[in-house]
């Protein structure tokens, strides 16, 4: 339970944790990590924070690093030749063919002149603010477990998501909105669906609340059959019932907390629609994002980008914004899983991502939000530098992929780690998802080894038993 939810309610968080969540849940946090919990908003910070909130842009389906962010000129020189030393090796879908160059040129962007795909002109404009990690590795080569691993630190289902951990540690900065919001793509959920934003064994309140510009929060609005007067009389009556009941047992603090939760739900009914109403957005802003683009998928994603900004502005702590959804009847149709025809697939996916995401960064920057918002761009793993046998696509590659960070606390214009000549494997500073989240938590002022929760015999962490903050990307 976030103390922020209660505002000034006379509920000691420590007592509350001790009794409400089966005793153990949360006590590890309360007693070990922050023995002096008392202030309302800041719950767990081990050192000064550079970032107050996180925006994660997630492109599911495994984005090909060598066609986007990781420039590999050797692929052009050796196009059509076998990958040295590995030959026709086996990967997720089977045999691989020879090396395949990217269908697009790479060109220099920004002051730093970092080379990215020419397909990314808008995001490329922000390259000087980005810190790339080119040497990521995953534990799995399968999308579902891969997405879940990237979001929870475990490839099996059932562990709390990144945003759930952050919600657990920091709570919400706006008591009228959820701390952790997930914005699924209009095309549907990512691989493994809701396992990507579950609270796992953390208290259920930390689960990601899914909404997007197309679909609002479930059960938010009061039933239509009740008039506003009836609704208001209902609330007063219910509050009386509950207050009377709570007065008999003042020591059960959960009873008061539930009363507060009902009040919060009432306030959310007003704040959430306000956050999703774009009427106040200027024509210029809408144009910047591309909400009127003739491509309905791009227009829908653009709206979700605006929604993300509005939610960040209003204090949502952690947002995961998806561009792409899951596997379908055809590989690479709904997400970045370009097994058979990379060029055609990415000519659909990249334009959806590029302009709206870039606009979101521009907008956050111009509003000063980047000063304390950390933006991270992720995918679950990368793709092979070879083509898949008999196709013009690439198979899954868990041994090398790229992500980037931008905004609060991030050293812009840096590139950390590197893949080998062809982008087949992480070669310099191989980095794990654990290192990445150690870094994210570090920027949020949290020591990843001390953000723990007891479950079935283990003090669990977002970073399992690994991870080291990548100080090179921190400003």
């Amino acid at each position: 339970m976030n103390s922020s939810i209660f505002g000034n309610e006379l509920i000691a968080r420590r007592d509350f944790l001790g009794s409400v969540s089966q005793g153990l849940a949360g006590v590890a946090l309360a007693s070990l990590v922050a023995p002096s919990i008392g202030s309302a908003k800041t719950i767990v910070r081990h050192h000064p924070a550079k970032a107050k909130r996180v925006l994660q842009i997630f492109c599911p389906g495994a984005v090909s690093q060598v066609d986007t962010w990781d420039y590999k000129p050797a692929l052009e020189r050796h196009h059509g030749q076998p990958l040295p030393e590995e030959g026709a090796f086996l990967s997720f879908q089977g045999k691989n063919g020879n090396l395949m160059k990217s269908p697009w040129e790479f060109r220099a962007y920004g002051q730093t002149g970092k080379r990215l795909s020419s397909m990314l002109p808008h995001l490329g404009a922000h390259v000087d603010d980005m810190a790339f990690v080119h040497s990521l590795t995953s534990k799995t080569n399968t999308h579902g477990p891969g997405c879940v691993f990237m979001n929870t630190g475990f490839s099996a289902d059932g562990f709390p998501a990144n945003g759930a951990w952050v919600s657990y540690a920091l709570g919400s900065a706006n008591e009228n909105l959820p701390a952790y919001v997930v914005i699924p793509d209009i095309r549907g959920e990512p691989p493994s669906g809701k396992a990507n934003w579950t609270s796992g064994f953390l208290p259920a309140e930390h689960q990601g609340v899914a909404l997007n510009a197309q679909k609002t929060i479930r059960n938010l609005q009061s039933p239509e059959e009740y008039s506003p007067q009836a609704e208001s009389d209902y609330r007063r009556f219910l509050a009386q019932l509950n207050q009377r009941h709570a007065a008999d047992s003042p020591e059960i603090t959960e009873l008061k907390a539930r009363i507060a939760a009902y009040e919060l739900a009432g306030r959310m009914q007003i704040s959430a629609p306000e956050a999703t109403d774009f009427a106040a957005e200027s024509v210029g802003t809408k144009k910047l994002y591309g909400v009127d683009d003739p491509n309905p998928l791009k227009a829908a994603y653009a709206k979700n980008c605006i929604l993300a900004r509005r939610l960040l502005e209003r204090g949502v702590r952690f947002i995961t914004l998806y561009s792409g959804s899951r596997a379908s009847g055809v590989d690479g149709l709904l997400n970045w899983d370009a097994h058979k025809k990379l060029k055609a697939d990415y000519e659909r996916h990249i334009p959806i991502l590029d302009q709206p995401s870039a606009a979101l960064i521009t907008d956050l920057k111009s509003r000063g939000l980047l000063d304390d918002t950390l933006v991270i761009w992720t995918s679950e793993f990368g793709r092979m530098p070879t083509h898949q046998e008999g196709t013009t696509g690439r198979d899954h590659n868990p041994d090398a992929f790229t992500l980037w960070m931008l905004g609060a606390g991030v050293k812009g214009g840096t590139s950390y780690g590197a893949t080998d000549e062809f982008g087949r494997r992480a070669a310099e500073h191989p980095t794990t998802v654990y290192d990445f989240y150690a870094t994210v938590l570090d920027l949020l002022g949290i020591d990843h080894e001390r953000l723990t929760f007891y479950h079935n015999g283990i003090e669990r962490r977002l970073t399992d038993v690994h991870g080291q903050s990548i100080t090179e990307v921190i400003a």
Partner: protein, 975 residues
């Protein structure tokens, strides 16, 4: 609780011992004190000092002062102080400074806990630093287990008996349970509570045993029963009700992570897993001995082959999630299989032993004395267990099926053979005439990369492509990426494009939930090749209508224009087709067809020639035979089949089990035969089978060994679970972790006594329920008392009955019960509160409207993974991805939203209103309100409550008032 936890942590960290893992053995070092000038050996001389005196705090988990001394790499970590060890310079090394006295007799700064290092140890450290502080890279110092074999839960049952109780306390003692509890309370100077009133008791009993509120009639009856033994009779009646098995079955399903979908990426639903859920409920209702129950879980197929009600127990093994996507990467495939078995190991060890054996997958357990090999001992027992469904039937059922099926199957086989003979005759003639017949094919075969048809210029408003056969045969569903219609002039235009204003339609399309147009005809004239029209029928008809009539002379279409696949491996593409044009959409003129095209492959060629060569007589014969064949197939299908259940399949493993170094299946360690766990070896004899022992033997032996009455964990863990669900908290607060990572018992003697009682009652659970329910401890009031609240806030020592919130299922079932909507039909396939959709991967969409078929008890909900279903999820119903030995009880605005706004609650509030109106036809609002209070809270409203409620009903009607009662804390809290 907090107090227990902290003391627990102090114990965990305070007295921990660490040791150097396997290093001494391998170093082969000869140990002697370092004389001046001698080379100090790190592994044998320095590592033990660091392990014993430094690692308690300076390990990776705690890293006090940002320092971990686990490995040299740790010293190089960016935030670690730079001068901990300065090679060759002991005086500048923090490590040496900290452990040395600055003045004679003064205690050095470190170690903070325990005694200071001896002068000799300090000298050794100095010498080591001086000599260059060599620390081999690969040498990691690992924390030893915090518990050893003297750990409390690894001791035999103590055989404790209820203690004698002081006379002054005897009023609070009704049976052995109370003696233990009262003694603890007295020792801790905690109060105790008087008996709760009868209304509270029956409501508590009803929720705890059945997960439902009592009916007002039951309350009235109990209140009126003033004869002695009224309570005990009530307990017996409640224990005998089938509602008991439903309630406690749900608890067990939590503990063993039973779920009805595969989980992971595809998460396909399991429609045949419910047999196991029914088995659990039935076993509990029949009070099956717990040891037998568990043996059936592990080896039911061996204990009762062809006895479905026993075999079904093995569904436990495969009740977890597994990754069924498939993987061509051999190392990844091994890892996936290891993960599948890991789920079984974790489920078994946590449920039956309360040990976190899974923690020993990569290394020896960090807290408990569980060697890594123990993990692989379990793995070898489960190495032959495969996920999947199979027939679950008795011998009689199998015989009956065979009797009915065999004659039909035989006739069918004969008909098929006859058909084959006739066809073979035709095929021979085809072969003979082939050279001549091939002449008809004067045009190239169709090309999935792009097929063109040219025809005389013709005016058309609509062009149509009818597909009657595909490259993969007649019964496949064609796929098209683009269909172009070109004009005849030199700078020919494609007038089919949507951007030109043309409209494409199809008679059928594959459906996608996420995007209804994903596979629609719109994809064939979008000018791009990345998306497809996919028919949902064999064959299909595509039409393109231009904005105005056009003169056209050419059509090009394809299904793989970007050449992603080789031509032969492309998805189904049109081979038999007709292209027609029309000016009005009514009269059609064919302009081109597949006539004369060479068949796409050998098999299609033969099919085509067959039709041309077969004669009338043969055709007639084949027609009759085919009719007969279909009739026989129909009859065969009509034979009542044998049920298929998700109970797992068993296959002899191809090779023995090996320890995996670091948990990595590609790093093979020593062979591990199927055998008992070393951690329990000191307690009773174990077993050891041949490394290639028959698969079933392995599980059977494991089952016998685990359920041995000399295994103290087996009985302790189970009675603690019972206690946990009775009081909201176990005697051990971590029900599936009796190791050093978990909590220690608040009442160890009581726990052992109850475990002994369970064995004495031949592992039947109901006698233990009776002991608990008939105790004063269970029946005491839950009112607060200042001394209790102040000293034992959560009533861990049971100075009162601990009040708590109901679980999600109990809340939902209670709503259905009070509104009179509950359908108590038991067993069979479950209901769903989501819409299931499968397009390669499964998606579960929560429903807004529930129909009557869902008004059953929540235990019958088809409980899938990675779904969110409003009320159930919001009130902490766990995802069965992992075992859930206890539930959390969170508080969130989402709960308020789903409980007051979901159409289910609104509808149920109306149902309750109707029920009240029915009970009091034309009656007073006050009567209706009073009945509502009895139903929801098992009590009478007080005068002021009544007034407020009547006022609300008068202004806004009964449903709104009912919605408020359902949302009241009192409704969902147990006390």
């Amino acid at each position: 609780m907090l107090v227990t936890r902290i003391s627990h942590l102090v114990r965990r960290f305070g007295t921990s011992r660490f040791f150097l893992l396997g290093l001494l053995a391998s170093s082969g070092a000869v140990l002697w004190p370092a004389a001046a000038g001698d080379r100090v050996d790190f592994a044998s001389e320095i590592a033990p000092i660091i392990s014993r005196h430094c690692l308690t705090c300076h390990n990776r988990e705690r890293a006090e002062g940002r320092l971990s001394l686990v490995s040299p790499a740790d010293l190089a970590r960016p935030k670690t102080p730079k001068n901990v060890v300065v090679a060759s310079d002991p005086d500048s090394s923090l490590l040496i400074q900290m452990v040395s006295s600055s003045a004679l007799g003064e205690r050095p700064e470190m170690p903070k806990e325990g005694s200071p290092l001896t002068a000799e140890q300090v000298a050794l450290l100095r010498a080591w630093v001086k000599q260059g502080a060599e620390w081999p890279e690969e040498l990691e110092l690992q924390p030893a287990a915090r518990a050893d074999l003297t750990w409390w839960s690894l001791q035999p049952l103590s055989g404790s008996a209820p203690p004698a109780v002081e006379p002054s306390l005897r009023s609070r003692v009704r049976n052995g349970v109370d003696a233990f509890v009262v003694q603890q309370l007295a020792e801790r100077q905690l109060p105790s509570s008087p008996m709760a009133d009868k209304r509270t008791l029956i409501r508590r009993l009803s929720f705890v045993l059945h997960g439902l509120p009592p009916e007002p009639e039951e309350i009235a009856e109990f209140l009126a029963d003033s004869r002695p033994g009224a309570w005990e009779r009530l307990v017996d009646r409640y224990l005998a009700s089938p509602r008991y098995g439903e309630r406690w079955g749900r608890h067990w399903l939590d503990v063993i992570r039973f779920g009805e979908s595969n989980g992971y990426e595809r998460n396909v639903i399991r429609n045949n897993a419910w047999y196991f859920r029914d088995y659990v409920i039935d076993s509990l209702n029949r009070d099956k001995p717990y040891d037998r129950f568990v043996r059936e879980h592990l080896a039911g197929d061996r204990l009762g082959a062809n006895e479905p009600e026993v075999e079904v127990g093995t569904a436990f093994l495969v009740g977890g999630a597994y990754d069924d996507v498939g993987n061509q990467d051999p190392a990844a495939a091994l890892q996936i299989r290891a993960n599948t078995i890991d789920d079984m190991i974790n489920a078994s060890a946590s449920a039956f032993l309360g040990l976190t054996v899974s923690c020993a997958r990569c290394h020896d357990h960090k807290f408990d004395p569980i060697p890594q090999a123990d993990y692989y001992r379990f793995q070898s027992a489960f190495a032959g267990v495969q996920q999947g469904a199979r027939i679950l039937a008795s011998a009689e059922e199998r015989n009956r099926y065979e009797r009915e099926r065999a004659p039909l199957a035989e006739s069918l086989e004969q008909v098929r053979q006859t058909i084959e003979q006739v066809r073979e005759g035709v095929r021979k003639r085809v072969e003979r005439r082939k050279p001549e017949l091939m002449k008809q094919f004067n045009r190239p075969k169709v090309d999935p990369y792009g097929t063109e048809e040219r025809f005389e210029p013709v005016v058309a408003k609509v062009v149509r492509l009818e597909i009657n056969g595909t490259t993969q045969g007649r019964y496949h569903r064609p796929v098209i990426d683009e269909f172009e219609v070109w004009t005849p002039e030199p700078d020919s235009r494609n007038v089919a494009l949507a951007s030109y204003g043309s409209k494409a339609t199809a008679n059928s399309m594959r459906y996608s939930n996420d995007d209804p147009l994903l596979y629609s005809a719109l994809k064939i004239n979008d000018g791009g090749y990345g998306e497809y029209w996919i028919s949902n029928l064999a064959g299909g008809v595509l039409t393109v209508e231009f904005p105005r009539p056009e003169t056209v002379s050419r059509v090009i279409w394809s299904n793989d224009r970007v050449r992603a696949f080789s031509r032969n491996r492309s998805r189904p593409f049109s081979t038999d087709y007709t292209i027609s044009v029309s000016v009005d959409g009514e009269e059609w003129t064919p302009v081109a067809s597949s006539q004369g095209r060479e068949p796409f492959n050998e098999s299609l060629l033969n099919d085509k020639l067959f039709v041309q060569v077969v004669n009338q007589e043969e055709n007639k014969r084949l027609g009759e035979l085919d009719k007969r064949r279909r009739e026989l197939e129909r009859q065969l299908n009509a034979v009542k089949g044998l049920p298929q259940a998700w109970v797992g399949n068993f296959r002899q493993p191809a090779k023995a089990t090996y320890l995996m170094q670091g948990g990595d299946p590609t790093r093979v360690g020593p062979e591990i035969p199927p055998s008992s766990l070393k951690v329990l070896e000191q307690l009773y004899p174990g077993y050891r089978l041949d490394p290639n022992a028959p698969e079933g033997e392995r599980r059977l032996e494991l089952a016998r060994w685990l359920t041995d009455r000399r295994n103290p964990l087996f009985s302790r863990v189970m009675v603690n679970r019972l206690w946990h669900y009775h009081f909201g908290r176990g005697i051990v607060a971590t029900p599936s972790d009796f190791g050093a990572g978990g909590s220690e018992p608040t009442h160890p003697a009581l726990l052992d006594w109850l475990a002994g009682e369970l064995i004495r009652h031949e592992w039947r659970l109901k006698p233990i329920h009776r002991l608990i329910l008939n105790s004063h401890t269970w029946r005491q009031a839950s009112d607060a008392q200042p001394e209790g609240v102040n000293r034992d806030r959560d009533a861990g020592y049971l100075w009162r009955y601990p009040p708590r919130r109901l679980e999600a299922e109990a809340i939902r079932d209670a709503i259905l019960r009070i509104t009179g909507s509950l359908n108590t039909a038991m067993g069979g396939p479950g209901f769903r509160l989501y819409r299931y959709s499968l397009d390669n991967v499964a998606t579960y969409y929560p429903l807004d409207e529930y129909d009557l078929s869902t008004f059953r008890r929540s235990v019958y909900h088809q409980h899938v993974r990675a779904a969110q279903v409003d009320l159930l999820t919001d009130f902490d119903c766990p995802d069965p991805a992992l075992p859930a030995p206890s539930r959390t009880a969170t508080i969130s605005p989402q709960q308020a939203m789903s409980l007051q706004n979901h159409p289910f609650v609104i509808q149920q509030a109306k149902a309750l209103a109707d029920r009240l109106a029915e009970r009091h036809p034309g009656g007073s609002v006050a009567d209706q309100v009073t009945t509502a209070y009895r139903l929801c809270f098992a009590r009478e409203p007080e005068a002021d409550e009544l007034r407020a409620a009547v006022a609300l009903v008068r202004s806004h009607g009964l449903p709104l008032f009912c919605r408020a009662l359902i949302n009241a804390n009192e409704f969902i809290y147990l006390r």
